[in-house]
Symmetry: D2
Subunit: 340 residues, 4 copies
Amino acid sequence: MISVGVVGGAGYIGGELLRILSGHPEVDITAVTSARLAGRRVDGSHPNLRGRVDLTYVAPERLPECDVLFLTGSMGTDADQRHAMVARAKHVYDLSPDLRLTDPDRYREFYGGHPAPELLGTATRGLPEADRAALRTADSVSVPGCMATAAILALRPLAVAGLLAPRVTVDGRVGSSGSGASAGEMNLHAERSGVLRVFAPLNHRHQAEIAQATGLDVRMTATGVDAVRGVQVLCRATASRDLTEADIRAAYRAAYAAEPFVRVVTYKRGNYRLPEPKILIGSNYCDVGFALDPDDGQLLLVGALDNLVKGGAGNAVQCLNIRMGWDESLGLDFPGLHPA
Amino acid sequence: MISVGVVGGAGYIGGELLRILSGHPEVDITAVTSARLAGRRVDGSHPNLRGRVDLTYVAPERLPECDVLFLTGSMGTDADQRHAMVARAKHVYDLSPDLRLTDPDRYREFYGGHPAPELLGTATRGLPEADRAALRTADSVSVPGCMATAAILALRPLAVAGLLAPRVTVDGRVGSSGSGASAGEMNLHAERSGVLRVFAPLNHRHQAEIAQATGLDVRMTATGVDAVRGVQVLCRATASRDLTEADIRAAYRAAYAAEPFVRVVTYKRGNYRLPEPKILIGSNYCDVGFALDPDDGQLLLVGALDNLVKGGAGNAVQCLNIRMGWDESLGLDFPGLHPA
Amino acid sequence: MISVGVVGGAGYIGGELLRILSGHPEVDITAVTSARLAGRRVDGSHPNLRGRVDLTYVAPERLPECDVLFLTGSMGTDADQRHAMVARAKHVYDLSPDLRLTDPDRYREFYGGHPAPELLGTATRGLPEADRAALRTADSVSVPGCMATAAILALRPLAVAGLLAPRVTVDGRVGSSGSGASAGEMNLHAERSGVLRVFAPLNHRHQAEIAQATGLDVRMTATGVDAVRGVQVLCRATASRDLTEADIRAAYRAAYAAEPFVRVVTYKRGNYRLPEPKILIGSNYCDVGFALDPDDGQLLLVGALDNLVKGGAGNAVQCLNIRMGWDESLGLDFPGLHPA
Amino acid sequence: MISVGVVGGAGYIGGELLRILSGHPEVDITAVTSARLAGRRVDGSHPNLRGRVDLTYVAPERLPECDVLFLTGSMGTDADQRHAMVARAKHVYDLSPDLRLTDPDRYREFYGGHPAPELLGTATRGLPEADRAALRTADSVSVPGCMATAAILALRPLAVAGLLAPRVTVDGRVGSSGSGASAGEMNLHAERSGVLRVFAPLNHRHQAEIAQATGLDVRMTATGVDAVRGVQVLCRATASRDLTEADIRAAYRAAYAAEPFVRVVTYKRGNYRLPEPKILIGSNYCDVGFALDPDDGQLLLVGALDNLVKGGAGNAVQCLNIRMGWDESLGLDFPGLHPA
């Protein structure tokens, strides 16, 4: 058994890691840190794990050595703390935005100053569908953002195949769990219920990550919707040449035919014709789909996923499975519910 | 025009008072206090009032004299502040629980020590359907709690007519706005969305108020549901003698035939057979209805209302309308929406 | 008093007309038709109107003469029935899509064959902010679509002022009431709850209407969201020249400073910085707002409204108020709720 | 591998059976029937199973022989069809209400005439926590109703221990999936969203089932709430003698200490102090909890579960696991999500 630690385990990504890891046959959860809840039971903040995990939070500075570490929060301004932590494990999976951008100027533009800019570019991106080969040997992995993951998976096969004109817009929609477990007044139920909150009208942070991954010229908007979990991205693009639906299907098939967690969803009838997060909650799937207007080459590419699973914890565990040579779907086999 | 002040205007009850009063033809909103937001625009925290009110919060200690004062918050431990405030107005409508119970022992049991117990019993209860005569001359009014209002209106006509055995249970359901605008982590959208949270499994505070108003032996449970507004109470009772549906209708009719804001809702078909808060949001109605099993005399009495309107701000304005001799529905004519 | 008839009164737009008209001081509801419910009480299908209207549905063929007629449904394939109906009233407000497009080719492209193509172009568009002068004398009015109204109001002042490059995309989001009261399996609660359903990935019908009204080259996508009411449109545009926020504000102000039902909503802080349907439910407002990236001239223009009010019934009544020379806000003064 | 057939696979219980069985290592889904969708792909109506099952619906009369049959729908008036079906399998799990009541008079009172009353009493009840011994050999199993299961699991240990006075009330709350996939207008999203619909004010059908299982004198009310999945029951009871919380815990512990799918949830702090369906969606848990007023012996017993899992499909599979001597949790190990 591989020993695993979760740093920042009281948050929503932390909880989801614990749910997945507690059902994973090859790992043993050795430590879960929380500065605020040290000494309290883990299932006190993650009630779905009652009877499933028997763990108590430890203070971050008391994190023991373990084989694998999952970091859920940003290092903030304290890079030393991160250094101390990652020194305690061989394999580190970082779910924060800290290492997602490789270009320091880009990082500064979207996030401000970085506490340890020398780290930028040192981690392997954790997107199995693009980075599987590198992930087999990577010991420092940076897991992409939730909306970025959906957009990259929807755009990248077509971008790589040269089928898209460079300019693309991305309209991201995300549920309230994306704001984390300690969010303030703006996430009160009475304020957040029923919203279509355009919290990033232009240049959402994930824009830089999608551009970096696809080489496209991306403009991104983001809206908070009335859901707890779920991400959907609508990517508007234009074909770079005459295209048919068959061309697009072929490009997706070439990229994803063997992928365990990407499905191409483009149906002519039914209630679920294009990717819909509603049926993905709890699962590690990212569904991608498209619509094409053959007359003028306009394209809508749609991606959907659960922001805490394929958009975070599940994707990280998939990366670990690859690194360890395990079946890639260990711990990740829940298919999602319908209806729910 | 009558000048009106709202103390604690930044909360949800405060905002609802402002919505109603800003559309009321006989009043002028003179001052709105907020300790936290003094100097800020009122429509900054109540965005539905943009273009409707042009007001700035003042600190509580700078409250000017006005004809009428609405108090939205409890006096907490500082009774002097309350005394200072109510001295500045002739008519005071208190929407807090401070003066709802008249018996100090009862108050202590349900709320703890009272900061000014000598005030208990000095205010007139603000329930027009029961207290209209007194409200015509009352200058200090205590507005009942939201779930209490629904339960009292459902139970009282039958209790007064002697149709009920003494023992009654009340199952209250309430939306998240009942927890106020400054609520904490337990009201985060991700935690509160989709809940059936039994936050008061036994002896909810409104139990004392319902008992006081009906003379019944009440047991009350309360559940937070996934709605922002809305209260529904299910009251289980037993007939004190052989009863027919006609008997119950007659008792309700005797009490409510002339009431502008109580409707008896007991239909045999359709989607809205019994009182349903969904269609009452924004309105000042309290719908009441019932079901009777003639074989064994078991009764279900149902009440529904919008907790911020008939369960708070609207009810208070109705009391003011009565006191001033105005049309009782001034400012309160919104019927509610279907569907919504 | 003006007598008014509502054709197709059992649907959601019909119900909303009845809600508004029943609180309108200058009109008298003479007749409400429903082929399916003839003989049944109106408040049986619109329970929010219990105690407010005392009306019974009549069969469409028994519609009496009235001064004003509101048509809520498409004429389908039977243009004669429409002719017979409109002959019974002097003023006709058509809320269906039948007469929204003036170009028969466009109509055919987006809707298929028209049952009475000679009628296209004969009605005055019912958008007060653009058409007030014409509406003062128009007797046949075609009320725009819900998402089209929001997009036109967000785009038109800037388009008219020549501030926008021609190519614009519109991302519309709409609640389930937009699908009507007789919708099928796809609108079951279990299927529709929690969705982000991209029901029109490209070329939504309202695209043609927005293009016609703004002269822009529009591409429109539409998504059904988990709300009963509410429309929000996100319009992506590019400035045609160097622009500042002040330029855009000036253009909006020139168009809307005197408008009773359009607010420009672009705030730097708070939870409601851009137009949000959540706080507009039940109101006749259309809020518009924007974000500008001055570096590259990209613009996000946002519009929001209640699809059944400013996106339908309320807008129609506003047109009627203009035609009759009444205060434009008669029957339409509800400000919306916060929170709700 | 055991071969399994699902009769009525297009409904919500059918879909849930397919989700669970498709992840079950010991069974092979041989046939799924649907009269309406014969010849269509199963994942067309259960989109969460895309890439998981490769099955096509067959007409009911073409059901092949299989080892195990799950029946999801009532036999209606055609008992012969049922006889023909069950003849094709050795083991039959009936999820309809047909065989839940053993007393024909009771059945008639709550459901009307039975098409094959001679079958009443012939099936073993499928409640593992009460019936495990019988289920090890039973070949005809009747799975209890969703709300009944929650109530029986909350009440039965205390009733069996003689701790309850006979009279109990049950207040059931249930999501829209309980109404099935082919429900009508009353389940339209616009009508069902946000409801607190008291659809059974007295004597809900599950009342008979709970009484039969506990020996108590039950009165049951049911409300549809704004959720797709989830059941919660609030059972009001009175202690038959002086009781402490420890007594109740002891009774629950005696019943459930070794149960894999029942947790006793009664906490003093946190957001999930009592059983809450929100965190049980997709899981096979039934959480039970309680509150006691030691002064007067009033008790609130709370049960919660996912109506399609422990309240239906999951419970049926648990019964099958028992019958086959497999690990009882095969296919049923999903813990539920938090938040969601």
